[in-house]
Symmetry: C2
Subunit: 490 residues, 2 copies
Amino acid sequence: MAKDFTTREDNYSQWYNDLVIKADLAENSAVRGCMVIKPYGYAIWEKMQQVLDKMFKDTGHVNAYFPLFIPKSFFSKEASHVEGFAKECAVVTHYRLKNDSEGKGVIVDPEAKLEEELIVRPTSETIIWDTYRNWIQSYRDLPLLINQWANVVRWEMRTRLFLRTAEFLWQEGHTAHATAEEAMEEAKRMLGVYTEFAEKYLALPVLQGVKSPNERFAGAIETFCIEAMMQDGKALQAGTSHFLGQNFAKAFDVQFLNKENKLDYVWATSWGVSTRLMGALIMTHSDDNGLVLPPKLAPYQVVIVPIYKKAEQLEQISIKAKEIKHNLEKLGLSVKYDDRDNFTPGWKFNEYEFKGFPVRLAIGPRDLENGTVEVARRDTLTKEIMSMEGLEEKVADLLEQIQGNLFDRALRFREANTRKVNSWEEFKEEIEKGGFLLAHWDGTPETEEKIKEETKATIRLIPLNPEPEPGKCVYTGKPSPHRVVFARSY
Amino acid sequence: MAKDFTTREDNYSQWYNDLVIKADLAENSAVRGCMVIKPYGYAIWEKMQQVLDKMFKDTGHVNAYFPLFIPKSFFSKEASHVEGFAKECAVVTHYRLKNDSEGKGVIVDPEAKLEEELIVRPTSETIIWDTYRNWIQSYRDLPLLINQWANVVRWEMRTRLFLRTAEFLWQEGHTAHATAEEAMEEAKRMLGVYTEFAEKYLALPVLQGVKSPNERFAGAIETFCIEAMMQDGKALQAGTSHFLGQNFAKAFDVQFLNKENKLDYVWATSWGVSTRLMGALIMTHSDDNGLVLPPKLAPYQVVIVPIYKKAEQLEQISIKAKEIKHNLEKLGLSVKYDDRDNFTPGWKFNEYEFKGFPVRLAIGPRDLENGTVEVARRDTLTKEIMSMEGLEEKVADLLEQIQGNLFDRALRFREANTRKVNSWEEFKEEIEKGGFLLAHWDGTPETEEKIKEETKATIRLIPLNPEPEPGKCVYTGKPSPHRVVFARSY
């Protein structure tokens, strides 16, 4: 275990922060609220990008790139959007520096003031819909299925590495459709893509649902989301997909001739996931020994460590190790062979355990004699001696098992921490224990707001296809058609 | 040919701009100087990124991500860097907007003024070296071989799509080394990577060299570059790699314990190419019929167009076309089959010609009978009838030929437009004809400056291993050890 590494029980929040830093994933930068994503962390993000990008393309989307800056006035065009986004943001007011005449370095040149301030994009609906106006004339130009990989900035006051940073990386899909039905179908399709990605790759079980009006994206008619449970019982929103109706088309005057040759406003969706997923990944699977990575997103899935005393031993082990590496790579696995001589095997074991390498193979002189390898799995911290016979297939199988086990473990945890509550007393008591509470709600923003004030819990989602179960709101006692999911959240 | 498409002879600059817009590569945005990269243009950029990213990784580099914003004071730390970069840049001064009390939309909240202004990165040496200080303690931490894919902003007054925009996309490598030799080797290695990329993928013949002090990167000891010649005879800098010495290490106090256990400053390089390469690609190969793309970077290498009158004909052609598509894809080629019924074959031919698809296959009912296909190549605008027998291999060969032909054509053009000049009169006369002039120069910045003032030509590069040829400076008559390359440039 790394020195000075806090346990989850001791201080969950500190544990997370220490883990991100000590596993070389990210660190705070000299600019308040902005992080540096270090190579190991970035390699995981790159794997996420590759998988998602392929899923987007397989569902008919193409990538494009829109400007970083948005004229201030654009934010005023969609009434609810401005409330949600134009407030805490980075504002560019000048375009030149000059040497200080008093020799104090460089100063902002007051002569170089922009006529209209530019906002560093917090999200790109406005600039994109302003552009779409010229791209869409007729139903033949639709649908427009575009995604952008970009950095965005939201001036958060309290930041945490990956989970909430002033600048973060994300993808944002922005699609345009001829009918409300098609747009709604697209919003749901992308929720499906996010769900599949979260469950199959991140090994992150998620609930699908819609947000209550209070939690809806600023400018959306309906916000679909996936929510996951972290190990401290708090919820984390892992992705959102919005049905925007004709709001942005109206705000930016994007009309098209429909099949009946009549002018109509275009229907829109937008959807995004961000480097926040790195936070979800870390918090869901990792333990007091460090990072735990699902094999499908681990930069290296297997590490091989030689155990030796003499140079000749290393030489012989290396021949075998390289052969195993080569064979594993032929199966499409990524493998690191660490034969560095200035670190002990013990140091390496700790290092790779802390960095979450899913499988570690150790080979010593005795193993060579016996035709065996020591195989350690990171998820369970167990070891076993395996024959070199058919080793590669066994390791590939083991990685599949680990991927499945991480998902199952997280699912069991979520199920064990999801409870029905039926009274306000019970609600207040249970929310202190963390987890998801399934409770009745009267459907009003006022009630949701009051529950939040008293307990810090919000409605994480209204299930997509809720089981009908008439009941009474835990707070007001008014009638409710089905339960919704409450939790404290990141 | 697209309507209203200017020829190169008529107006080269207009031809370029029209081409970029009409081929759906990019367009100007609502934000002055910032472009929108449209899906077709972005698909080409993505191909460039994939190839380069692999080349960087194959040479031992890893990716990371550093903040978009840089504190203003950082720019004052490296004396020559501030002169070169901190002037024309986007300055963030505030972090909040608020509703105007007079109901005029949103205004900048004067209370939310930053203590220190933030600069939107024009390049990242300063923030990265400020970060490296904590990453490097000993020679064991070196070399550090990191690349970043990012957007950067330089407040250009005169902008042109891809060639010079306020915001552009690029990659910037920033490496740290224990010795000057290693850093110099790295700078040269990356120049080699850029050269290979330009020549093998962009089909862009380039000259390798070093910049004169006037044209050096702000903060570099030596700037290596590759320069290409556009069809109007102007030079375009296609990539640079800088040996930064210990300048940034000293400015940001990055010291390490060397093998002799003594503190020393770290040696640095940086290197980058940008979306400007899109401009080079377009201007080198395209013609009065539109875009011409080298097969290795074309989003689609082959398009298949069916020629038919009746639905049954289309049905039969489609069976064959899909079979050909499938077989071409098995060879690793990307193929589009356009069976849209609302566009005529003639319209499609124009469209794909204008968008630079390298090879077009047309299949009609007669072709089915005869077992033939019409094969058109974009580079030469020639057509031939080929037997379907072994078609896929022939198409794959043809694509190789096209790739080679584009390179050869561009090389012949450059050679035909590169001339030795030996007197000032000759220089002034020849520079008006465009192209590269090989001339003697006395090695002083003053002379270079005067030549630039009088002719708008600059020294594009001093050849890497110049042929010794003592002579006299064309401008001053002072002695010169070898010729350098002069040109007007983008």
